[in-house]
């Protein structure tokens, strides 16, 4: 009897302890840290100073704005692309399905640094992309040195990396849509496009929400692409919250301030997730 009661806890214990040590403790510690500053090598309580500074920090707001622009442009493009790809790859008529699926998913598992370096080489002023564009008569685009195009480069890189990942999620969900829905629709004379919009999309709604939230969190934490590709430049035009947290902590040694930014991100992730749930309705 007793044994049966305590038994599950043994199995849960390691996971719980690790969770306490590596998730709960850092969450609490960084919260405390966000109210502290370093004076002559010692941490002292600083009240709301880090947060008021955050409110007045132009770079923070620029980073917010950049993150928001990237979010608004990139996430919809990626989700729609992923959905379309998933549908195409789910098509019965398509040959070599496995090959295509792997090819699209591959970017998600490549090394971050390797892919960023590749992109930065390709996006150089005389890089392969501009060379290719010149053949179709488009003049060289300053991919990494112009504020607008630098953002575009980040969006392209992120889309390349994460579309396949989201596509796999959608592919899995597509398997769960009953075949008879499509059958009934085609009997009623609905073409492929109508089927997509009136059956596939509504059926995928919970998954779209899930992918949307994951991407939202991912975008708010965006770090690798700007860090490796643009360093936040030119002139902060690709500075993101994740990169600013890193710089404040590890380059400017201001861990208290970095923690304050991190908590601002947490609050925003929370708010955005609630909004998404509300828009999606249902549960």
């Amino acid at each position: 009897m007793n044994k049966a009661k305590t038994f599950p806890y043994f199995f849960a214990a390691p996971a719980i302890l690790l969770f306490l040590a590596f998730t709960v403790y850092p969450i609490i510690a960084s919260f405390v840290l966000s109210f502290q500053e370093r004076v002559a090598g010692e941490y002292v309580f600083a009240g709301l100073k880090n947060y008021t500074r955050l409110w007045n920090d132009d770079i923070f707001w620029t980073a917010m704005q950049n993150t928001f622009i990237i979010f608004v442009v990139q996430v919809p493009i990626m989700i729609i692309l992923a959905m379309v790809l998933a549908n195409v790859l789910n098509n019965q008529l398509l040959k070599l399905k496995g090959f295509f699926r792997v090819s699209f998913f591959l970017p998600a598992v490549t090394s971050l640094v390797a892919y960023s370096i590749l992109f930065s080489i390709m996006l150089q002023e005389e890089g392969i992309i501009n060379t290719a564009l010149s053949y179709i008569g488009i003049t060289a685009i300053p991919w990494l040195s112009d504020p607008f195009w630098a953002k575009a480069s980040i969006i392209i890189a992120m889309t390349w990396r994460w579309t396949g990942y989201n596509m796999v999620i959608f592919l899995a969900a597509l398997q769960n849509i009953p075949e008879d829905l499509y059958e009934a629709a085609s009997l009623d004379g609905a073409n492929k496009f109508k089927q997509f919009f009136y059956i596939t999309v509504p059926q995928l709604k919970p998954v779209i929400l899930f992918a949307g939230i994951l991407s939202t969190i991912g975008t708010l934490q965006l770090f690798d692409e700007p860090f490796n590709l643009t360093g936040g430049g030119p002139a902060d035009s690709t500075m993101t919250l994740g990169l600013y947290i890193y710089q404040s902590g590890f380059e400017y040694f201001d861990f208290g301030y970095a923690s304050a930014i991190a908590y601002a991100v947490v609050v925003m992730v929370g708010i955005l997730s609630i909004i998404q749930f509300k828009i999606a309705g249902d549960e």
Partner: protein
């Protein structure tokens, strides 16, 4: 009974898990030198070409101290800083005895973590102070005491393609001022179609920093006031802008693009620190014999042509349990001519001035058209001005690069951009 067994095993599991964490801790502390009790092992963190130099030095040091053992952990440069920052943040846990830190970073650590590094003046290093250029010893000093060992330096020069210069009929000896440099750039562009130099206009301000140092100042003046709106800053920025507007600049984003522009012969010059010689010798092998070096042009005729870019130092961490041995080794490392000559073989330019008379410095280097380039760099060492990096270098550098970027993209004038950068910087470091 079962209940007891249950609780005991629950505790055991907890101990296992926690034990796994804590044993991790003690083993990393072990690397801080308290070690296995023998007390003869010293650990160091360094990157890249510094590693073989340390190892060679340890071999030599061992001849006198047979028990001595050095463990060099090779890490990436950025990783060393991340780990050092985290280690200091947690009060010195997991840090090794010796760490390599670059010139531009070291004051940041000394200010933010005042007790981080061992005071080497207390241990007697002041005796050797005269063997190093003042700009180096001042960099490592706080309240009159030194907290590190000067190692390599980056005396500057303009690396240039002798063949392009010849084709355009430009004589490198005639380039005395930055204006001459720009004129030469235009000629070379006309004759060869090549850009004069590669710059990462939105990501790095190396040329501006060299020009500031050359004029005896930096992001901050001697009193630590922000210096962006100074006359020196304006002059430096103007020259960079003139180069850009004359079409002499190839925008190379990042280190790799910059080096490959040299390797592929797309640029005619590269103003940089002496350490660049190592990189081009290795990565632009095909261009052997087509390179030369001249000193940075001055701002006005007969002005100062010595400057510095980059360089590094070794520090002993206060967390080390083996400070005396680490000190003995590092003192040997820093002041031994043979060790510093191995550093040179590895492409690092030593700041230990007792070796400049060595024949290694007068030898002709075939890659550089048989020019004795080391002699040229060594001749600068006493003229390199001391500048104030301060603990806020990283933030200042961020603002400086932004200002440069805004100027080069035509968004703001030099005055506007640096005024704005100065205001922002003052705000950020208050």
């Amino acid at each position: 009974m079962r209940k007891v067994i249950g609780r005991v095993s629950f505790l055991l599991i907890m101990m296992l898990v926690l034990g796994a964490c804590s044993s991790d801790n003690s083993s990393s502390e072990g690397s801080a030198g308290e070690g296995d009790g023998s007390g003869k092992k010293v650990t160091a963190w360094a990157w890249n070409i510094n590693v073989p130099v340390l190892e060679e030095a340890a071999k030599k040091f061992k001849e006198e101290n047979p028990d001595f053992e050095l463990e060099v952990v090779e890490l990436g440069r950025e990783d060393v800083y991340s780990k050092l920052t985290t280690g200091l943040q947690t009060g010195g846990k997991g840090l090794p005895d010796i760490i390599l830190v670059e010139d531009d970073r070291v004051q940041g650590y000394m200010e933010t973590f005042p007790d981080a590094f061992v005071n080497v003046s207390d241990k007697g290093f002041d005796e050797s102070k005269d063997s190093f250029p003042t700009y180096k010893t001042e960099l490592l000093s706080k309240d009159g005491a030194m907290y590190g060992f000067p190692f390599d330096g980056g005396p500057t020069g303009v690396f240039y393609r002798t063949d392009y210069f010849e084709e355009a009929g430009v004589n490198a000896d005639d380039i005395k001022t930055w204006d001459d440099f720009i004129e030469a750039g235009k000629k070379i562009k006309d004759a060869t179609g090549k850009a004069m130099l590669g710059l990462d206009l939105n990501g790095d301000d190396g040329l501006y920093r060299m020009m500031m140092t050359q004029q005896g100042t930096f992001y901050f003046d001697d009193e630590k006031n922000v210096n962006f709106t100074s006359e020196e800053s304006k002059q430096a920025s103007e020259k960079v802008k003139m180069m850009k507007e004359a079409g002499l600049v190839k925008d190379t984003v990042g280190w790799d693009a910059w080096i490959s522009a040299m390797a592929q012969g797309e640029v005619a010059t590269a103003p940089s620190g002496a350490w660049l010689s190592g990189s081009i010798t290795q990565q632009a092998k095909d261009t052997e014999g087509n390179w030369g070096v001249f000193k940075l042009p001055a701002f006005e005729e007969d002005g100062n042509r010595a400057s510095n870019l980059g360089g590094s130092n070794y520090v002993i961490t206060s967390a080390s349990n083996n400070q005396d041995l680490a000190y003995d080794f590092m003192e040997f490392f820093s002041t031994n001519d043979d060790v510093q000559l191995t550093a040179m073989d590895n492409g690092l330019f030593p700041t230990l001035n007792t070796i400049y008379e060595n024949e290694a410095f007068t030898q002709e280097v075939s890659f550089f058209s048989n020019q004795p380039i080391w002699e040229l760099f060594a001749s600068e060492m006493n003229d390199i001005p001391s500048v104030n990096f301060t603990g806020n270098y990283a933030i200042a550098s961020d603002e400086s690069i932004k200002a440069q970027s805004e100027i080069m993209n035509g968004k703001k004038s030099i005055e506007e951009a640096y005024k704005a950068a100065e205001d922002r910087l003052k705000n950020r470091i208050q």
